[in-house]
Structure formats: structure tokens, C-alpha cells
Amino acid sequence: MTTYSKISLFCFSALCAFYTPLAFALPEVVVEIKEHLFFPQEVIVPAGQKVKLTFVNFDDTPEEIDSFSLNREKVIFAKSRGTIFIGPLKAGEYPFFGEFHPNSAVGKVVVKSKEDTLDAN
């Protein structure tokens, strides 16, 4: 095995070791978009942990999820789904809204400590 192959194999193994446990351990929360409203409007996630937030758009029009506090922005096309990863976050409230329907499509991510999250669930 050449030095180049050894380095490549090492880098690949390091990447797998870094990403694989994260990908499998991530909690997922699903938010549905119906009639330009989020269901649920309030999402509770644990503090200090990365979370997979999946939006499923049941409407016939696209929606753009935007959150200034989370630094996230994503277009969810009509009748489709999209995922964003958030965190690790400190305990608190992080509002998000639909850019195309900012008056109705409003929600928030509530980040709680692990103990509080278990109680909430």
C-alpha cells in the first residue's frame, strides 16, 4: 500500500468515525406545514445536542423557513419535505417563521435541559 493510499484510508476512516455516530444518534422532530401553518407550532428539543428538524409541506405552494436566531433558511417546495440540522443550542426560545406567509406560519424551537425535555415528552 502506497503512502498516498494509507493517508487516504486514514482520512476516510477519521471522517466515518466522526460523522457516523452523530448521524445515528441525532434526535429528529417533524413539523408539518398545512394551510400555511406549522404543526406543531412549538418544538421542544434538548439543550447541547444537535437535532434534525424535518419540515413536510402538504400545501400546493412552497414555503421558506427562516430563523434569524437559528441562522437557518430553507425553501420547502410544494408537496415535499426538507431537513435542517440545528444546535447544539443553549436553553431558550428560538422563533422561526415562513417567509412567504409570515403572519400565519409562525413557530418556535424551545430548547430545554435534558431533564426538562424528558418531563415534557
Binding site: T61, F68, V75, F77, S80, E99, F100
Partner: protein
């Protein structure tokens, strides 16, 4: 709907108008050269828009983010070509301009197109939508003209180049946000929170974000990408101008 259209138009298309303004302030860039590239951008946006739904579903729903990341990277490459020996490598300079306009223009214009087409098809009366677009267009053009006057009349060419690289670095830094969002970059670490001074949501926040990439809560990767994207073109500009200067001295000596 009127206010929302104006806000979305400014957020999505202001960077395009700022880019045009900055490019026209650079030496050796004609209005015609920018005009045909903007026309090319419009054609590309119209062609790409129908494929967006399909693109967005690629890579487990992260296709649009990857597409935008690639385009911002292309814009950054364009900036590197523009600052690389601009007077002699005219083909590279020309290619650099094209990459800049497409790389920054396409992701931003597609965002507004998604909103515009969806609202156009949803509402029978599109007066407010068109009015909002016209108002947004007027504000964008006004800001772009003011910036162009500032860059062409009040600052040196070197400062204009530096501002151009800062503006492009700000756009390129969006790659970090997009890749954090898709979990391609590792967990983001927020460095500070200046939202009490200037919020991302405010008018100043929007303008500063478009101009210099202001973020109230930047992550480490955002700042790393921003400074890398800023420093490399400036180093290229520095060394290429140094080389050109020494070449000219040699020519004079011969």
C-alpha cells in the same frame, strides 16, 4: 403582501444590484459587458427554476443547499480570476466577471423567483405583488447607484477592489451556513451575539449582511470561510500587481 414582497425582493435581489454596482466601479469593466452577463443570468434563472423542485430533493433534501454552495464557490473563483493580472489576461478577467455574475446572481434570483411565481399562480389579483416588486426594484437601484458613486468618486481603485473582495467573501461565507444546515460541516459554535446592537432582522442588519456579510450570531466556520474567502483574492491581487510591476521595470530596462 406588499410589504412582504418588498422585504423579500430586497433580501434576495439586493446582492445582485450591489454586485452590478461594484463591478461597474472596477476599472476596465464596461456597462455592456455587465449587461450581457445579466441577460445570461436571467436566461439561466428562467431555465433553472423549473428544475428546482427536483434539485431540492437530491441528497436527502439538501440539493438546493449544495447547488447554492457550488454557485457561491464559483463566484469566489470568479473574484480570484478578476484580481489575477487583470490588464493582461483579458480572457481570464472576462471569465471571472461571468462567474461572479452567475455565482452570486443565480442563487439569489432563484430564491425570489420561487416566491414570485408561487404568489403569481396563487392570487388572481397580482397588483400588490407587482407593486411590491417595483418598489423593491426602485430601492435596490437607488442603493446600487449610491454605492457606485461612492466607489467611483470617493475612494481609490485599491479600496474599490478591497470592497469587491469583501462583498464576494460575504456571499461566499454563506457556504458555511448552508453546509452547517445540511450537517456537512460539524456542529456550529456560536462565537458571539450582537443582536442587541444590530439585529439580523433589522434594515441595517439586512444591508450590512448584503454588503459585508454581517451576522449577529456568527459561527466559527462562518468566520473561517469569510476570512479565507477574503484573504486569498487579496493575496493574489498583491502578488500579481507586484509581478506586473517588476515585469514593467524589466521591459523598461530592456
Amino acid at each position: 403582501m406588499l410589504i412582504n414582497t418588498v422585504v423579500l425582493f430586497l433580501r434576495d435581489t439586493l446582492p445582485i444590484f450591489l454586485l452590478i454596482s461594484v463591478l461597474l466601479a472596477l476599472p476596465r469593466v464596461s456597462t455592456l459587458a455587465v449587461a450581457w452577463r445579466v441577460l445570461l443570468l436571467v436566461l439561466l434563472a428562467v431555465f433553472t427554476y423549473p428544475q428546482l423542485g427536483l434539485v431540492s430533493q437530491l441528497s436527502e433534501g439538501a440539493g438546493f443547499e449544495y447547488l447554492k454552495s457550488i454557485l457561491f464557490f464559483i463566484a469566489w473563483l470568479g473574484m480570484c480570476l478578476v484580481v489575477l493580472l487583470p490588464s493582461r489576461m483579458s480572457n481570464r478577467f472576462s471569465l471571472g466577471l461571468t462567474l461572479l455574475v452567475i455565482g452570486i446572481g443565480l442563487p439569489n434570483s432563484l430564491h425570489f423567483l420561487v416566491y414570485f411565481v408561487s404568489e403569481l399562480s396563487r392570487n388572481s389579483d397580482s397588483t400588490l405583488l407587482l407593486l411590491g416588486t417595483i418598489i423593491g426594484l426602485g430601492i435596490s437601484i437607488s442603493i446600487a447607484i449610491l454605492l457606485n458613486i461612492l466607489l467611483t468618486h470617493f475612494v481609490s481603485k485599491r479600496a474599490t477592489y478591497f470592497f469587491a473582495t469583501t462583498f464576494v467573501a460575504a456571499q461566499t461565507a454563506n457556504i458555511a451556513l448552508l453546509l452547517e444546515q445540511t450537517d456537512t460541516f460539524p456542529s456550529p459554535r456560536q462565537l458571539w451575539d450582537s443582536s442587541t446592537i444590530i439585529s439580523d432582522n433589522s434594515e441595517y442588519g439586512h444591508l450590512l449582511n448584503s454588503l459585508v456579510g454581517y451576522e449577529a450570531t456568527p459561527s466559527t466556520s462562518y468566520l473561517l470561510v469569510f476570512f479565507f474567502a477574503l484573504i486569498v483574492p487579496n493575496l493574489i491581487a498583491f502578488f500579481s500587481s507586484k509581478k506586473r510591476f517588476s515585469d514593467e521595470i524589466q521591459e523598461v530596462a530592456q
